[in-house]
Structures are given as C-alpha cells and as structure tokens.
C-alpha cells in the first residue's frame, strides 16, 4: 500500500533521507526506529504529502504522492509529531472540522466521530477547548483526527509520546485492533512498543535503512537475549552452583547474594536454545525451591545502539 522507491530529501546541503526504499503491505504495522535526526519524521512527512521528495517516487494506494497529492491525502491518516490542533476550538468542533474537510457530512460524519470518540475515549472532554486539555488528551485528539475518516494508511509520528502507561496501553491495543485492514507506520523511541505493536521493525540512521526485520529477529541480535535469572534460598547456593556448572547447556554469568536468605544466579545459554526448562529441571532434581525466575528477552535498545551511529562513534572512541 505504501511504496517508497529511492526517495531522497535534501534540506539545502543536508541530506535528511538518502535513497530510501521500502514497501509496506496491507495488514502490516511497521515500527520506524532511529535516533533523533535520522530522517524518520521527514520520511513520514513525505509519505503524507506535507513535504515533497527531492528525488524518488512515493506511491500510496496506487497514487503517486507528487502527481496526485489530494487523492493520496484522502487515503492517509497522519498524526504529526507535534500534534497541535487549533487550541481555541473544542474537541468536538475540531473533529467536526476535520471530518468535513475530509468530505464527511451529516449522518456519516456523526457516526464517524462517535466511533472515533469511543475508540479513543474522548467523550469526557468533547466540549472542552483543546488548549485546556492535558498533554495526553491533546495527543489523543491528534490521533482521533488521523482516524476519523477510517483511512487505509496510517502514519503516526510518535503516537504514545507523553502518555502515561495506561494511555499507552490503550493506544497500543487500539493500533493492534486497527491493524488487519490497514498499512500502518509508527515511529517511536520506545522499543518495547515495537515488540508490543509492530510486525516489522525498520531502523534508519542518517537517512538510510540499517536494519529491516521482525521485532523478534531484532531481539535475537541482542546480547542479553535468553539470559535467565533465578532466585533461590542462600542455603542451597553451593548445591545449585555445582548443578549448574555440571550442565553443559548452562553457563554461570554471575552469583549474587540478594539478601541474607536469598541468592541470585544469572545464567546464560551455551547455544541459542532457551535454558529455562533445563534450569528448572536441574533445581528440581536437587529439591531446591525456586523463589523467583525471570527470562530476559533481550533489549531492542542494545540492537538499536549497535546499529546507529552515535554508539558506533562511542565504541570507536573507546577502542
């Protein structure tokens, strides 16, 4: 539904997006990651028709963005990074304006607004001027504005920025819900969000794609993936230690006295397979009670830093 071919955007001599190509089919939620200034917002602005590419071609729902901008905009719901709305309007009159500007009138418009208001839980603030709303509500109004015409393509620039955990959860649930008949691009800094919402993750840096894979595959690239921490009683410390060191699949990374009664083992696998079950079995055989056990899923942050330049420079510096 969204196709970018060799898209470049320059601001003067600065190249914000550099020969970027990708395509997003229907039903896909693409998490767009990258450090500040990597070109995420510029790319999204180009897809939504706010900026024109310096070269290259963008096609949305079969329409070329440059040749047919109005038609493209009709099919896109776009939530800008600074989702500012007209502060002096009430939420309802603002949504009315957006719906009408998008060609929805009368009962169709009312139904569309009703739907989006309940989806994003805005009913409490419908008659409040936007300037009196909290940051979270303002973001939600920005999201409502992007959804009111039920677009086939959604472009959301950091939709959960500034929301509290509950609100974030709501938005994530909503996006998962919307996913099946839309192509969605979400930019974010919060990497757990990519895991939670996206079916594909793209990391860009300096206007170029540096990584394009599933969130799970990204996780596997992380060094901390599959690390298991297990908490047991301090009395069994030595027994457990021998049990672990005897098992060829398990390596001990760290043993730490947590409190006077407990001790925490940090273990990592020799191969790629999960070792949680092996650990449980090993402890079970020795009749050691497991007080707590958790598996590290790896952090997208680590992958992210490893693939983007700021950290590379730091590494070079260290070496």
């Amino acid at each position: 539904m969204i196709i970018l071919e060799n898209v470049t955007r320059k601001f003067g001599s600065f190249t914000a997006v550099d020969h970027l190509s990708m395509s997003v089919p229907k039903g896909q939620v693409l998490g767009f990651l990258g450090p500040n200034g990597a070109g995420k917002t510029t790319t999204m602005r180009m897809i939504s028709g706010f900026l024109t590419p310096s070269s290259g071609k963008i096609t949305v729902c079969g329409y070329n963005v440059e040749e047919n901008p109005v038609e493209v905009k009709r099919h896109i719901g776009y939530m800008p990074e600074v989702a500012s709305s007209y502060n002096d309007m009430t939420v309802l009159s603002f949504l009315n304006f957006i719906a009408e500007a998008r060609g929805l009138f009368a009962s169709v418009k009312e139904k569309a607004i009703e739907k989006v208001v309940s989806e994003i839980s805005l009913s409490n603030v419908l008659y409040q001027p936007i300037e009196t709303l909290s940051k979270g509500y303002k973001r939600r109004v920005g999201l409502a504005q992007a959804l009111v015409h039920d677009p086939a393509v959604l472009i959301l620039d950091e939709p959960t920025e500034g929301l509290d955990p509950n609100q974030k959860h709501e938005i994530r649930t909503l996006i998962r819900h919307l996913q099946k008949d839309k192509a969605i691009i979400i930019s974010t800094h919060v990497l757990e969000e990519v895991e939670a919402m996206c079916s594909r993750a793209v990391i860009i840096d300096k206007g170029k794609i540096v990584l394009d894979d599933t969130p799970r595959a990204l996780l596997n690239l992380s060094g901390r993936h599959q690390i298991v921490s297990v908490l047991i009683s301090a009395n069994h410390k030595d027994t457990a230690e021998t049990a672990f060191s005897e098992d060829p699949k398990i390596n001990i990374a760290d043993v730490k006295q947590e409190t006077e009664q407990t001790v925490l083992f940090t273990l990592y696998p020799t191969g790629k397979e999960s070792i949680a079950a092996t650990i449980v079995d090993a402890l079970h055989q020795k009749d050691i009670e497991i007080l707590d056990l958790f598996i590290e899923k790896g952090r997208l942050e680590e992958v992210f830093y490893a693939y983007t330049s700021a950290d590379k420079e730091m590494k070079d510096h260290k070496e």
């Binding site: 028709g49 706010f50 009709r74 896109i76 600074v82 502060n87 304006f97 500007a101 998008r102």
Partner: protein
C-alpha cells in the same frame, strides 16, 4: 467547493474566538467615525455625503488589515497546525482562498457595522446613494487587496510581528504609490513614463476614482487582478516553504 466552504467557515468562526476580532471591530468603527467627524469635518462641509468618511479608509486599513492578516499563516506555522492542515485532502489554493475569504468577510462585517453612517446622512439630507454604494464597494475591494498582500507576507514568516510590520510597510507603499508626495520626490529622477507606471499602481488613485462614483472597469480589474497575483504568490510560497 464544499471543502472551500468548510475551510472558510472554520477560519471565519475562529476570528471571533480571539479578542483580536472584537478589538478590530471596535477600533475600526470608532476610528472611522472619529476621523469623519473631527479630521474630515463632516458637519462643517455642509454636504450630505460620506466623502469625508471613505477618505480615511485606506489609511485605517494600512494599520488594521495587517493586524488581521498577520495571523493567517505565521500562526499556523509557529504552532505547527500547518502540518495537519496541509495533510488534509485539499489543495493549497483552497487553503489560501479559504483563509482569504474568511478574512475578507470579517472586514465586510466591520464595514456593515458602519452602516449607521449611511443612515445618518440620509436622515440629514439627500445624498447620492449610488456613490455611497460604490464607495463601500471600493473600500471593500481595497481591503481585500491589502489582505491578499498581507496573506502572502504572513506565509513567508513564523513571526506575527514580522508579518504585521512588513505588511504594514507594503500597504503604506502601495497606498503612497502615485501620491503627489512620491511623484514630486521622483519627478526629476525618472521619466514621465515611469511616473505614469507608478501612478497606475497607486491604490489611492483607483480608490478615489471609485469613490467619486465612476464605475471604471479598469479600477475593478486592478484590485481583482492585484489580489489574484498575491494570492497566487501565497500558494507558491506555501508550497515551497512548508516545513521551514
């Protein structure tokens, strides 16, 4: 067309949600009245007409129109709403026209509020109502032309203050073009033809010719084409300077 109506309606209503609108209306009505009676010597002239009323309109507009037009695009740009506005499925031309018509209609309201002046002269004597109607039209046209210039300048900047100051300078210049003071200044320097050219662009000259009740199509065309040029320029500026 429907989109244009929607955009114009929103803009028009938005004027009344800010104090700017009410201050503008108050100042316009009271100043135009005061100038007529004091500076224009309405009673002393002993004539039942509104010449002394309309005479000051261009000078009021020079200050007041930039106060309206400064918001148009500079504010959208500063607050970032321009991004949302320009990703709506409407053309830039529709956006520019929407804002322009809303502002123009707003000035129209200000003019309507001065109708008691018209009623007053009719009560006091027998004025030529045709001339007064033409003068209202001329006043409305010159306001529209100033607005188009202001719209273009507002599209160039993020700062309302810059937009206001530059628009005011532009309006003063356009009004003065073709005035005696400017002609005298340049009379030795440039040829007769250049002076004629200056005069043909002088707003005051076209305005005064209309307020005398002479319906010259050239005067109408002048204001309409002048506005169109600046509105078109606004579209171009916006398309090229959206994000910056």
């Amino acid at each position: 067309m429907k989109a244009l109506t929607v955009l114009t309606k929103r803009e028009f209503i938005s004027y009344f949600t800010t104090p700017v609108a009410w201050i503008f209306l108050m100042i316009f009505v009271s100043l135009s009245g005061l100038l007529t009676f004091y500076a224009g010597d309405f009673f002393g002239r002993g004539q039942a007409d509104l010449q002394s009323f309309f005479l000051f309109h261009p000078w009021l507009y020079v200050f007041l129109i930039p106060a309206i037009s400064m918001r148009m695009w500079a504010e959208e740009r500063r607050s970032g709403t321009i991004e949302m506005l320009m990703t709506l499925p409407v053309s830039t031309t529709q956006l520019v026209l929407g804002k322009f018509f809303a502002a123009w209609a707003f000035v129209g309201i200000a003019l309507l509020l001065t109708l008691p002046m018209w009623i007053t002269v009719n009560y006091l004597g027998n004025p030529d109502n045709g001339i007064i109607f033409m003068s209202y039209l001329a006043s409305f046209l010159i306001a529209g032309t100033f607005l188009s210039v202001g719209s273009c300048i507002s599209a160039c900047t993020k700062s309302q203050v810059v937009a206001f100051t530059c628009a005011m300078m532009a309006c003063i210049l356009l009004t003065f073009l073709g005035s005696d003071a400017l002609i005298n200044l340049f009379s030795g320097v440039v040829t007769e033809k250049v002076i004629k050219l200056f005069q043909s662009f002088g707003f005051l000259i076209h305005f005064l010719s209309l307020t005398r009740g002479v319906l010259d199509v050239r005067d109408l065309l002048f204001f309409i084409s002048f506005s169109s040029v600046f509105l078109f320029a606004t579209v171009i500026v916006l398309d090229h300077k959206k994000a910056v």
